[in-house]
């Protein structure tokens, strides 16, 4: 049980760390990229994906969340 808890804590710390905004933003970014890549506007995905990554970083740096 201790090892399972430790394993779970490791992955929580690895993925979420001290900013849940980054983790949630990353998941939302990946989902958006997937939807765009499989829609009729797939070329836009290669611009939207990096832009969404930057928005996630800026949101995580916003004073109210950091």
């Amino acid at each position: 049980m201790k090892y399972i808890r430790g394993f779970g804590f490791f992955w929580w710390d690895f993925i979420v760390g001290d900013s849940i905004v980054l983790a949630v933003g990353t998941v939302a970014t990946i989902l958006a990229a997937f939807l765009l890549a499989h829609s009729g506007v797939s070329p836009a995905a290669q611009v939207i994906l990096p832009a969404a990554v930057l928005v996630t970083l800026a949101a995580a740096l916003a004073k109210r969340w950091s």
Binding site: F10, F14, I15, G17, D18, S19, L22, A23, T26, V27, T29, I30, A33, F34, L36, A37, H38, S42, P43, A45, Q46, L49, P50, V53, L54, T56, L57, A58, A60, L61, K63, S66
Partner: protein
Amino acid sequence: MNSVLIFSGAFLAASVEMVEALTIVLAVGVTRGWRASLVGVGVGLLALAVVVGALGPSLVTYVPLNALRVVIGSLLLVFGLQWLRKAIMRATGRKALHDEALIYQREVAELERDPIPEGFDWVAFTVSFKGIFLEGLEVAFIVLTFGANHGSYGLTLVAALAAAVIITSIGLLVRAPLSRVPENTIKFAVGLLLTSFGTFWTGEGVGVDWSLSDFTIPVLIGVFALASFLLLRLLRPSTTKPVTLPEVAAS
């Protein structure tokens, strides 16, 4: 002539993938320590050997490369963003707005203990392992696909081995100079690299068609670097003494 072209193509393609793996291993080794990072490399190579040895040429059919790219890319992306965020926060000294001296001391203490544990560093191990395993699989794909086109795998295997020797030698040469760069500066650069690789691989995995192919990575690094410096300038308080990346690291 066909053999020269096949060799050159396999060599260059394998070199690109190996440079990507080397970048990640160097970045993790310099910032988190070499022991766990090199163990990650060793275990990654072992896992790779098992997968390639077990599947052989049928590897191309059975390994879901895009699913691996999404999983590994998204983990690198979230980890890279965490480092980038921390590096920007340290460089801007934002908490110093309240009690500069006290919080600066806290920041220095945090830099000294964060985030490397005293025991085995599983984060360094995991990131190195993933970098080696994914890039190694891509090299294996290159050897197999080029080899299948040529009719034998010997030539493409030699090309990949030649690339491995050259890229590893370059890694050994640049390791020492990199170790002398200030810590927060390195962490900032590592955050940029992991975020860029993570964005690229995740994009490939979910079906984004990068029009520049692998050359998208340096473009992403440039764009993220520019945006990060803009964020750094925006967030730096105008009423307190600016804290630069080298100053924070040197303290």
